[in-house]
Symmetry: C2
Subunit: 136 residues, 2 copies
Amino acid sequence: MSDLLERLRGRGWRLTSQRRVVAEVLDGDHVHLTADEVHARAAQRLPEISRATAYNTLRELVSLGEVIEVSTDGRAKRYDPNAHHPHQHLVCSNCGTIRDVHPTGNPLADLPAEERFGFTVSEVEVTYRGLCSSCA
Amino acid sequence: MSDLLERLRGRGWRLTSQRRVVAEVLDGDHVHLTADEVHARAAQRLPEISRATAYNTLRELVSLGEVIEVSTDGRAKRYDPNAHHPHQHLVCSNCGTIRDVHPTGNPLADLPAEERFGFTVSEVEVTYRGLCSSCA
DNA sequence: TCCTACAATGGACAGAGTCTAAGTCAAGAA
DNA sequence: TTCTTGACTTAGACTCTGTCCATTGTAGGA
């Protein structure tokens, strides 16, 4: 994630302390925080940061392709910094824990032409659900 | 869908006019209405029906396994009455149109044991995204 | 150092969904 | 048929998530 800031600067992103802490909070594997969680953690380091700024920064990171927006439960969207390694998600139906997973196969190839209804299909999103070891 | 009411009665569901119109509204293929759309259509037939009742009835139909809850866009959840025929969804990224599709293959088998992190995986949800013929 | 365009703030607002207290009614009992 | 009662419905307040806007602040170039 440290090179994220480099990449952003390279794209002409104005680097502010707020944007820096938001980017820092989104560092690591299997990170899937909600916007409010991102804001709360950012506020631990930079108490003045506003909710709107957290939301704005997340939206920009998503549109820059640096972070993926995931909504696995119809509640708050979650933000996944693992945007440069294609993956899918495994979600615990009980506690909501999310893990990044890498299934084999290519689900796009599994959708026959007669099942495409004239759509130009470009993306597939797969969500596995079940119980994690703690909840089982 | 007409036998849905039979099944519900068989389960001891108290059959009210409100529940009947909600069930009737959810009839057909490729039906993916939001809760508010369900309420609006139900209200055309039964003007007094309240929003809370529409929400309650949908929640019950979901927990009875008669209707599937789908959230393809992080906005309002949609309700899919096609619960007894396993299928996945194809969504237009532009206009939001949803179609039921039937991919070949078994995505559950594509998740190797070492990628399951101790989870008991029971379900897979696949969402194909792209542009429909009108939006392309 | 100074400027200024871009970013941050905070509070109002909006959409989706839940909750509650009070009123109503379906369906079994008599 | 009428009565009774617990389940169902209602309206509106409330919560949660997210967006918008007018104002204030500041990063970074000249």
